[in-house]
């Protein structure tokens, strides 16, 4: 009985982590869909989200909903600028050049924020925007932070679903990710749609950053690297370019990580995630929900 409640507790913790990964993975998968680019800087937009929230809470003491809105807006702005400044001039360049540029943007964001005049490379305690309460549900306990993460993630996913499947922008975005040339012949403004994708992806990563900061209250300028890579793996696992695949992948990766930490050793958790990556790339490179692409 105790064993079962321990496992259930880990499931709750895993979903908590997985929800954050899912929010980041959505940005990866959408950008990969329209540009065929692994946006390495996406993990740093997530980090930036946490830092903006830290700044807004500790310096201005804003209420939580305002923190969410302002962080999303500023992350969206950063995502937009990154795309316009770094990726757009290279759109016709070799694929690897684009990838190296993405690595460059990522390093720039990390080391620029780690300057002593700004945030320094040290860990910074993330302020609590509200008191933590714990609700005992007999089998497991759940905190209001976890509830907040579940609710915010659910709302974000619902809005994203409406955006992608019910609006003209969503149709245009799916068209671009299906075939860029044909979409532009059909009168879709490619540049606008790519910017739109980056804005949506970056604001979701910003939300992920705030939630991560609240749940694991220590932030650091390099905190985006590992969650970023793991979320990308989540996107690959679910099938890159597929929206619901990213969510399922994120939850699986989060659960795996928490279970490995709980039952093996927390030092092995990164290793296990990458073993999953190898297994996916070798045995099912199109991911769980992807369709097999016939070789031409």
């Amino acid at each position: 009985m105790e064993q079962i409640s321990y496992i259930l507790q880990q499931v709750v913790n895993g979903i908590q982590l997985g929800a954050v990964y899912a929010l980041i993975a959505l940005g990866y998968t959408m950008v990969y869909g329209v540009l065929r680019l692994i946006n390495f800087a996406h993990g740093d937009v997530f980090m930036l989200g946490a830092f903006v929230a830290y700044f807004l809470i500790s310096k201005f003491g804003l209420p939580v909903y305002l923190v969410f809105i302002l962080t999303m807006v500023s992350c969206a702005l950063v995502g937009y600028v990154i795309e316009k400044v770094a990726y757009k001039p290279l759109r016709d360049a070799p694929k690897i050049s684009l990838l190296i540029t993405a690595v460059g943007v990522s390093l720039f964001l990390e080391y620029f924020l780690s300057l002593k005049a700004l945030f320094t490379p040290n860990y910074i305690p993330f302020p609590r925007p509200f008191e933590i309460e714990t609700y005992d549900l007999s089998f497991f306990v759940i905190t209001n932070v976890q509830l907040l993460i579940f609710i915010i993630t659910f709302i974000s996913l619902f809005i994203l679903y409406l955006l992608i499947y019910k609006t003209r922008y969503g149709i245009a975005m799916r068209a671009v990710s299906y075939d860029k040339e044909t979409a532009s012949l059909m009168g879709v403004g490619i540049d606008g749609i790519i910017s739109f994708t980056f804005i949506i992806g970056a604001s979701l990563a910003g939300v992920g950053g705030i939630l991560y900061g609240i749940a694991y209250p220590q932030i650091n300028v390099f905190m985006g690297i590992m969650p970023g890579i793991k979320s990308f793996i989540a996107a690959v696992l679910g099938g890159i370019g597929i929206i619901h695949g990213a969510v399922v992948g994120g939850l699986i990766i989060g659960l795996c990580e928490v279970f490995v930490s709980a039952f093996l050793s927390s030092t092995f958790r990164d290793g296990v995630i990458f073993i999953i990556l190898f297994a996916v790339l070798l045995f099912r490179p199109m991911g769980i929900f992807g369709k097999r692409i016939e070789k031409v």
């Binding site: 690897i96 684009l98 690595v103 390093l107 620029f112 780690s114 290793g271 490179p285």
Partner: protein, 312 residues
């Protein structure tokens, strides 16, 4: 020995450089710190040439080169410490062992992952790099000597200028010969167009694997020298950021340009380590803000690297 004759000019230049360096060291113009970074620069050059074979010549984008460098370093550190090696002659077999182990692991990991292309290969090699890092972090569970996340201490100091320089020269001569051989031609074919290469009868899978293994072997040599130069290893010396360092060197030096890579290594080490003597630490942090911006501009301006031959 024909290839020694062919690279006579190169050897003469290298020998002059050696004499100048040795003179500076013997007459005490250069401090021991500078001597150390000169050797370090040669090690970095050796390892970066390995990455240039993989990425610059064959076009296989690897973000896990530091892992093979780390495997070489840990192997050498373990062998020299456990076997108590301190002379140069008994060190040569250790070097060979390091390179063979790095190459073998590169070979085994290369069989599955070299099927992947471009960005997926990047993420897979990056994943392998992280796995190796996790292994180093937990290595004290296997053997206490390895030190795990506390770092590997007490490695005998064997590396010296002559050994590093002449061994690297030897490797460079061999590498040049390899590149001018039919294998080098096949590698460049694969980089330009893999499909076309396979259609004219090149076994692309084998050739990619060969280039990858060879590059990893060079990284193994570099790592071994590094371990016996600094006498201390820490898993964080071999993480993703280190792999990106090698990548930046190859890009600055130009894809498929060996001399460029050597020059870039010296510029890079001079920039990163050398500036430490001159500038105060507050200014030093800005290095890492400038480098990524530089990288982005290089990609926009000359996507095949600064010193690369111009392509249409």
């Amino acid at each position: 020995m024909r290839f020694l004759k062919e690279s006579k000019q190169f050897l003469v230049v290298a020998f002059i450089i050696y004499v100048i360096l040795k003179a500076l060291f013997v007459f005490g113009v250069a401090s021991s710190y500078i001597q150390q970074i000169v050797q370090y620069a040669v090690i970095i050059a050796l390892t970066s040439i390995g990455l240039n074979i993989i990425y610059g010549f064959t076009g296989q984008f690897s973000l896990g080169h530091a892992a093979f460098y780390g495997i070489g370093a840990y192997t050498s550190a373990y062998l020299t410490k456990v076997l108590g090696i301190d002379s140069l002659f008994s060190y040569i077999p250790v070097l060979m062992a390091c390179s063979v182990i790095s190459g073998l692991i590169g070979f085994l990991i290369g069989i599955p992952i070299l099927k992947l292309k471009d960005d997926f290969l990047a993420i897979a090699t990056l994943g392998f790099g992280t796995l190796v890092r996790v292994f180093f972090d937990n290595s004290d569970k296997i053997s206490d000597v390895l030190g795990g996340s506390r770092g590997f201490v007490g490695i005998p100091k064997i590396t010296n200028l002559e050994l590093v320089l002449f061994f690297t020269l030897f490797i460079i001569v061999i590498t040049r010969h390899m590149i001018n051989s039919r294998f080098g031609l096949f590698w460049r074919c694969i980089k330009d167009d893999e499909l076309a290469a396979s259609s004219i009868g090149i076994n692309t899978a084998n050739m990619k694997l060969m280039a990858f293994t060879y590059g990893c072997m060079l990284a193994g040599f570099g790592g071994a020298f590094y371990a016996n130069l600094y006498t201390f290893l820490h898993p964080s010396n071999f993480d993703i950021l280190k792999s990106i360092d090698f990548l930046i060197i190859v890009i600055i030096g130009g894809m498929g340009n060996i001399v460029g890579t050597i020059l870039a290594s010296f510029i890079w080490v001079g920039f990163i380590e050398g500036l430490r003597i001159i500038l105060p630490s507050e200014v030093l942090d800005i290095r890492w803000v400038v480098i990524p911006i530089l990288l982005i501009f290089i990609m926009m301006w000359r996507p095949y690297g600064i010193m690369a031959k111009k392509t249409k």
